[in-house]
Symmetry: C2
Subunit: 179 residues, 2 copies
């Protein structure tokens, strides 16, 4: 970040008064540009005993399978965002959303909120961000072709939880080397 | 937002290709400036049957009582952020953190993650963002002097949950009129 969004002046890293870490501070108007973690919202949609996955049509992980998820937008709730992503990626209307899984992924400054859900009329298609959508039984899940560690972890847990029919909300950290 | 952070060029609101909503797009270098919800992390610290609250030394709600909470920072987990805020506001070392409460507050594009916790050695003080810190029994909580609706809701739920000794993780939306 080099320039101020508000006045176009030069920005420098410095610790503002009453703060304890470096921020991007405008040297002209003084505006402080905070950069904070992003929220990723998504769904784990099921139809009977099958799970809906989407094959990514975008980078990163083009061509890999994932659960519908993406950046939460301003003005929406996390459940609305998770349903919106399910629509955009799988042309499916998510219903009966239940919060299921929170991941912290600090090395990329992201927090994930995943909801379990059903699909209205069991009807789905292929959204613009996907090459393909499909339902998978436990045996059919393409474990080696999943896009992200969060998706793999979430699917494993869900299949375990399903055996006993209880879905506690969990939160853990996906660890990578810290910078 | 008027200027690009990266090249200083003029920014205009437009819908990027492959997108479905307006973004701040640089008319010079093409950089898209996404603005996404922020995560607020906080703690509900207890010492025996008392709850630690802080009197705010900063706006908004200067002089009102709150739980230690604030914006999550890049590179930390939500639990680390909640503990950091507890240190900054109440000079208390949060330990044994357990995720307890998620709030969506869409009209201000925020997601709250609150943890229950204890305090190391039951030791606390007053952080730079607080005028005062104190422990409150249920009867002593200053309900009319609480800073935020999320804090009021969280305290009410916690006191109910404590009666039966179970603390399920909940998530609800704090509704205000949508824009």
């Amino acid at each position: 970040m080099k320039f101020c969004n508000f006045c176009g002046g030069p920005v420098a890293l410095q610790i503002p008064e009453d703060d304890n870490r470096e921020r991007h501070v405008c040297q002209s108007c003084g505006h402080i540009h905070y950069i904070n973690p992003k929220v990723i919202v998504g769904c784990l949609p099921t139809v009977g005993d099958r799970i809906l996955l989407c094959k990514r049509a975008i980078e990163p992980r083009f061509g890999k399978w994932t659960l519908p998820a993406g950046f939460m937008e301003n003005g929406e709730t996390s459940a609305e965002g998770a349903a919106r992503e399910t629509w955009e990626e799988a042309a499916a209307k998510a219903i009966d959303l239940e919060l299921y899984r929170i991941f912290d992924v600090p090395h990329i400054s992201q927090v994930y909120l995943f909801y379990r859900c059903s699909i209205e009329n069991d009807d789905f298609g292929v959204g613009p961000e996907s090459l393909e959508s499909a339902l998978f039984t436990e045996q059919e899940i393409p474990w080696e072709e999943l896009a992200f560690p969060t998706v793999r972890e979430l699917l494993r847990e869900f299949l375990e939880d399903r055996k006993i029919g209880q879905y506690p909300i969990r939160n853990t950290v996906i660890e990578y080397p810290r910078r």
